[in-house]
Symmetry: C2
Subunit: 201 residues, 2 copies
DNA sequence: TACGGTCTGGACCATGGAGTCCAATCGACT
DNA sequence: AGTCGATTGGACTCCATGGTCCAGACCGTA
């Protein structure tokens, strides 16, 4: 792993991406290394060549990739969540991302439950990821609070961020069970209603 | 299976309950029949005696039990969700239930992702369950709308119910990752904010 | 006490999937 | 061409786990 040829890097990437697709569609447990092998036309030895830690390491790479993708999709909006318009832009970015995603993959949050039982380290990684994501929302709210844009009787940024983030995650969950985008839309609308209610008049 | 002695019924119940605990703590995939056997001091033959369909049938029984439990916890409040006070009572009932639950089991919604990959029938059962739960909220909102208690420009009951339900499910997700109750509290607070915003003045 | 059904124990089988190993090939650099 | 490491193929081992089977214990009834 010290040195990776361009070819090797390409193979590695191919493996991670294909595995990500499968895991998002079927879950971790339902994704076998043989599946991955078939999807990528690779051999067992390659899987373990690029991921000496075996399936656990591969899955961790997948989670990191997918996490980065989702964060990237909100990136410009996420950095400047300090006005109602910015939050509306954030909402739009999320909807665009999940609408474009082929299939209705399970949200990362749903993997947490599965990971908790099988791989404590992975569970920790997912929890950390969710915390940083939520932290971004909280940071935006804190900037707004500091600028006096929030009502005095509004919930503190930490709680408000948790509520908004929960709204989002729940929306993703329903979007998956319903195989449709509208629950996520409805959820994000609800999040904005909450935000407006917290805005200083 | 046709006839169950009191003793047999007791054993069966013991199996389902112990399995429920394990599944809620570790997920479906991380719960093996041998684990269940050990937890309940039963033998393989008993497991298959009471659940001829094997693990799949057992898991379905667990989901049914847990679903019923959660619904029961909200029962009185759920039947009369037609005023702000009723929704506040509902919120309190949920918090009480999840606070009392030992450990921070994964919400049923989180099992959906795992089930989707391994047992389509189970996934369907879980989806149905989530739909009826959400349907209860929607029914309450529809009664309120019919009684003119909702603003004309409020979202339609279906979307509002989805938003509130998503808020709840997301709250459960965070409560698990944080191993604390406050995210669920914050989420339910957010749900009530949304509800108030939809109330006719 | 004999009988029939339910209940229980635990050995046994089958299989899928993770992980190992070695030999063969490729490709860059000398 | 020669060499060395990166890359690849695929057979093989090992084991966890779901599922089968049968013999025996329990228990109510005739």
């Amino acid at each position: 792993m010290s040195t990776l040829t361009a070819k090797g890097q390409a193979t590695r990437d191919r493996i991670v991406e294909a595995t990500a697709d499968r895991i998002l569609a079927a879950g971790i447990g339902a994704t076998s290394l043989d599946d991955v092998r078939a999807d990528t036309t690779t051999s067992k030895s390659q899987l373990f060549h690029y991921f000496p830690g075996g399936k656990a390491e591969l899955v961790r790479a997948v989670v990191a990739l997918q996490g980065e993708r989702v964060l990237d999709a909100q990136r410009p909006a996420l950095a400047a969540l300090d006005s109602l318009e910015a939050w509306e832009a954030w909402r739009a970015a999320l909807l665009a991302h999940y609408a474009a995603q082929h299939g209705w993959g399970c949200p990362i949050g749903s993997l947490a439950a599965e990971a908790a039982g099988t791989d404590a380290e992975l569970a920790e990684q997912i929890d950390d990821y969710l915390r940083t994501w939520r932290g971004e929302l909280q940071a935006g709210l804190e900037r707004m609070a500091a600028a006096g844009k929030l009502r005095d009787d509004a919930p503190p940024p930490e709680r408000l961020a948790a509520a908004l983030f929960a709204q989002l995650q729940g929306g993703l969950l329903l979007t998956r069970t319903e195989q449709a985008l509208w629950p996520l839309e409805a959820a994000l609308d609800g999040a904005l209603v909450q935000l407006r209610a917290a805005l200083a008049s």
